[in-house]
């Protein structure tokens, strides 16, 4: 099994998700919300003009990152990065913005995760080590967005599978994951089962099983 650099892994995950969204957007407009980290990178790779980015801190139609000389610290996304406007964008207060999410109007959210289990439970808000104290919009997003796409490296820093049988960390939502994209594979949840959809060229199915704790179905 060939190893992939962290940077390469992240870019591949973002590209894979961007391709998925470009395909979905062929049927019509697609409204997406992107979390911090790999999820934000997805915006760099989507090509469809019918994809619109929502930021839960109160903006629909978020544009690309603001160039250094044109940063406005009152024009930010939920990761506090300075962004730009797109034509037809609009601003919302936080209740209206989360209403848009909770009401099921946002087609997809891309988020990172510490763990996802084979029952589609997501753990991405806290590692109970006493150093973190925050949930932000994570729970609202996984329960509100129509499709929840998990963007994460396959293995933790210590080499453990992040796709697990059962989440050991506090969960963010019950059974909310719809798709998991790692640098080695794409999985979807259908009918309460985790199904393998794609495998990266440098990995065999056997190798994938060996680095994946969760049970998955190969169609």
């Amino acid at each position: 099994m060939q190893t992939i650099s962290e940077q390469e892994a992240k870019e591949r995950i973002a590209r894979t998700i961007a391709r998925h969204f470009d395909q979905e957007a062929e049927a019509g407009r697609l409204f997406i919300n992107l979390g911090v980290g790999i999820p934000t990178m997805v915006a760099n790779y989507v090509t469809s003009p019918r994809i619109y980015v929502q930021a839960e801190n109160g903006m629909l139609g978020v544009g690309c990152a603001a160039p250094e000389d044109r940063q406005d610290h009152d024009l930010i996304n939920a990761g506090r990065a300075c962004v730009t406007e797109t034509p037809g964008c609009s601003y919302l207060d936080s209740a209206a913005s989360f209403g848009m999410i909770r009401g099921g109007h946002v087609d997809a959210t891309v988020i990172g995760a510490f763990e996802v289990d084979q029952d589609a439970n997501i753990a991405n808000w806290i590692i109970p080590n006493g150093k973190q104290l925050g949930v932000g919009g994570a729970m609202d997003l996984v329960s509100g967005a129509r499709e929840v796409v998990i963007a994460m490296q396959h293995l933790s820093k210590t080499g453990k599978s992040k796709l697990v049988r059962k989440c050991s960390l506090p969960i963010t939502g019950i059974g909310e994951a719809d798709m998991v994209v790692t640098e080695y594979a794409v999985f979807v949840f259908e009918h309460n089962q985790l199904i393998l959809r794609e495998t990266a060229p440098e990995i065999t199915l056997e190798e994938l099983r060996s680095i994946t704790e969760a049970d998955f179905i190969v169609p």
Binding site: L75, A78, F98, G99, G130, G134, D140
Partner: protein, 219 residues
Amino acid sequence: MYSDKYSSVTDAIAKVTRGSRVMVGSFGMAGYPGALIEALADSGIGDLTIISNDLGAPGVGLGRLLSNNQIRGLIGTYYNWNPEVATAYNEGRISVKLVPQGTFAEAIRAAGVGIPAFFTPTAAGTQLAEGKETRRFDDRPCVLEEAIHADVALIKAYKADELGNLVYYKTARNFNPVMAMAADLVIAEVDEIVPSGSLDPECVITPHIYVDVLTMKGN
């Protein structure tokens, strides 16, 4: 421009009393009533419960209130940007109530519009729903959340007219409009006060009925 609601920052903050529940608008440093917070930190008023999305950064902005030991409790969504919060909490110096960001925004709006409690799917089945009533609607478990009200709201708007109608600026809007509805006393820090009738009646975000005091930085 004259307004009968106008007050100096110092006089405005003098209305906050020891033990108050104080809402503060902002998301990170966007839409942040900076002059009011500095004055509140300078005042040394203590035993406060601060209701805000986050607590800025260590020793900066709202973070100063924690460094100054002015805080008894926090109600908010995301304190990872200020690790001093977790430390103070672990040492038992402050209480912290974490609320999902969308629930937080909706609960503040609820207080403003006279809704004492509502059901939401967000957080159902998670640690943040423990001890709360859960009920199924359309076969989906939902959590009963109560309105969040405050004694005082410190908000940041862009422009006010003489009456106190407010408009905001880009993503600095965030929690400010809902907090403007949810406190007994609402103090708005603005960049400019314009004549009545010069704001488009279609574009007023916070009608003047909600605003008690107007103040400006450096006055």
